[in-house]
């Protein structure tokens, strides 16, 4: 957390002297895009062997930015975005520590087989970016963001494999593939409601007042609450957005 604050302060110290340099103007921009990406551990653990399917779940992102032009080609931007960060994945794992949870009961152990994970996240995001006009057409921006989640689901099931209870020497239970023989989990309640991250984007002006953009948002907080141990790694949201923007004024 402290680290995040330091990053934000650093960015502001870079931008603020330029802010005072005046001769500036305000720019208002609307954005419409769609995001794809994943919620993944940083560095794939060896226990995840294969991705069998990764369904692109495009979520719309609607945003509004205010940018303050500063001296030279620099600027400072903030705004509000309503966006979704979803994922639907089927992976093959080997001896992956996980927990089957249903109601108040849980069954933890090392699972070998296949895992389906479905993540749904709806949120409002506030970026604080430094912008830099590289040319008349290209503007780059980078900075931290904070997201407030309005909806958070993290659920799925393990199937076609087996679980060793508690550790690899524990009792073995074969897990089938239909609803009555596989194990489900739901960790929606364990998700953070506030996410922090860094984003990096580029705006390409096709005309003077509109263009297309690409943005990459990289979470620096895991999607689950601290102390959440039911799955092996901390998962970070990494999502890319592409779309169009238009100057409002």
């Amino acid at each position: 957390m402290k680290r995040h604050v330091i990053i934000a302060i650093l960015l502001l110290t870079v931008a603020l002297p330029r802010l005072r340099a005046a001769g500036s103007e305000w720019i208002y921009t609307g954005r419409l895009g769609f995001s794809v990406g994943g919620t993944a551990p940083m560095g794939m653990p060896a226990t995840i062997r294969e991705l069998n399917s990764f369904k692109l779940k495009a979520s719309y992102s609607v945003g509004f930015d205010i940018e303050r032009r500063l001296s030279g080609s620099w600027g400072l931007l903030t705004g509000l975005r309503a966006e979704g960060k979803d994922m639907d994945i089927d992976a093959t794992v080997k001896s992956y520590f996980t927990t089957i949870v249903q109601g108040g009961q849980s069954l933890a152990g090392n699972f070998t087989g296949r895992v389906v994970t479905r993540v749904t996240q709806r949120m409002f995001t506030i970026p604080v970016n430094v912008t830099r006009r590289v040319s008349d057409r290209l503007t780059l921006q980078a900075g931290p963001y904070v997201s407030i989640l309005t909806r958070a689901k993290f659920e799925g099931y393990v199937y076609d494999g087996y679980l060793r209870r508690n550790d690899p020497t524990g009792p073995k239970v074969i897990v089938g593939s239909d609803e009555n023989t596989r194990g489900s989990y739901d960790f929606g309640d364990d998700m953070r409601r506030l996410q922090l991250g860094l984003n990096l984007g580029a705006d390409w002006h096709l005309r003077k007042t509109w263009g297309c953009f690409a943005n990459l948002a990289w979470g620096i907080t895991g999607i689950h609450k601290r102390g959440f141990k039911a799955i092996e790694q901390t998962l970070y949201p990494v999502y890319g957005t592409v779309g169009i923007f238009g100057r409002i004024r």
Binding site: G104, Q105, L107, P171, G183
Partner: protein, 378 residues
């Protein structure tokens, strides 16, 4: 400066996306144990006794041999988890007149399991009546009761099995008495058996197995099949060299309040029933292969020779005597009987349809002082 930013980003993406080398196996199980003998009949009653498939939750491997068999220098072979190692080595010669301990170490070197292998001679049942008083039990490492019998020479024989290991997976019990199969401290005579149909809670409901009937049977429980083939978890029967005639004992029974079907919905007007039955069956087929009967065929298999079943278990809140007589579907071959060619099981369950996850939560069957009365030998 900007170029470097991109490089860092691309590096991050690559790190995240690429798969690492497959980790080494962490498991360290003995899956099967077997002997290679030129004349297996000298040591074993039948050839199929030379090989044992070890249930994953078990760390005791017991071979049943003829009385007086020489086990002082035998080479035992194992199949273990791929990549794991076993000490002493598979195929090394040992004296099995005492149990021999084997340690399996996983491929990654981080995990170990210790197994005990013993050879037991099948002692002949001398008396005409086999007594089952449920006095011998201990707690498993997972905290539920397990029963055993003492042979006539005082050796422990872990012949009893229950579904407690399955219920344990639901985390639904915090002490041994909360398990479906539990010790009744004050039975008809000393300790007895208390079987209770229990709810398996939300984890059980998730997999359509909403209740667990209390059960105890002669045989083995294979936990690994609990989710995928629950009727295959019960491996019924132990070798039995006498011809059973009838079963007697004492019971109490109280059905639970609400009978529910497999979907968890109440079935109006239906009352739960306890169940007691015993089966005597041929344990090898015509080709000499081992035959084990499971929950799905223990009463219907063509290998069944005789069945005794309690037809109507009236609720009773005091000790009530019961008696079941075996009805024979075929002849018993006296030579095969001597050669351990028949298996016997007796099954107690607090819900008649418990194997199908139907019944009434709370149904309680108490059992004590069971006797298997066998035909007197000339």
């Amino acid at each position: 400066m900007r170029g470097r930013w991109y490089l860092i980003l691309v590096a991050c993406l690559l790190c995240t996306a690429c798969f690492k080398d497959e980790p080494l196996n962490e498991e360290c199980d003995i899956e099967t144990a077997w002997l290679q003998l030129d004349n297996p009949e000298q040591m074993f009653y039948k050839e199929s006794d030379m090989q044992i498939t070890v249930p994953y939750q078990s760390n005791r491997i017991v071979f049943t041999v003829r009385e007086g068999a020489d086990v002082s220098a035998l080479a035992l072979y194992f199949t273990i988890t791929p990549g794991a190692s076993i000490e002493p080595a598979s195929g090394s010669v040992h004296d099995f007149s005492r149990p021999v301990t084997y340690t399996v170490t996983s491929e990654d070197g981080e995990w170990q399991r210790v197994y005990t292998v013993s050879f037991r001679s099948q002692t002949k049942t001398l008396s005409d009546t086999v007594k089952m008083d449920f006095e011998h039990y201990r707690l498993s490492q997972d905290g539920y009761a397990v029963w055993y019998e003492l042979s006539e020479d005082g050796e422990e024989r872990p012949v009893w099995a229950s579904g407690n290991a399955g219920f344990n997976m639901t985390g639904g019990a915090s002490n041994p008495q909360e398990y479906p199969t539990a010790v009744l401290e004050n039975g008809y005579n000393g300790a007895g058996l208390r079987l209770t149909t229990r709810s398996t809670g939300s984890l059980g409901a998730m997999v359509g197995k909403r209740l667990a009937a209390g059960n105890l049977f002669l045989g083995e429980f294979d936990l690994s099949q609990t989710l995928t083939a629950s009727l295959k978890t019960t491996r019924f029967g132990i070798p039995f060299a006498r011809k059973p005639v009838k079963v007697t004992g004492f019971y109490q029974y109280a059905p639970g309040a609400t009978y529910t079907g497999p979907n968890g919905r109440p079935v109006p007007g239906r009352t739960d029933q306890g169940d007691i039955y015993a089966v005597f069956y041929r344990n090898t087929d015509a080709a000499g292969r081992r035959v084990t009967l499971y929950g799905d065929d223990v009463l219907t298999s063509p290998h069944v020779v005789a069945v005794a079943r309690m037809t109507d278990m009236a609720p009773a809140d005091y000790w009530t005597a019961f008696e079941m007589t075996f009805s024979y579907l075929g002849d018993v071959d006296p030579e095969l009987l001597k050669e351990n060619g028949y298996n016997f099981t007796i099954v107690f369950s607090s819900s008649f349809n418990g194997a199908m996850f139907e019944g009434a939560v709370g149904s309680t069957l108490l059992i004590d002082k069971v006797r298997i009365i066998c035909e007197t030998e000339e």
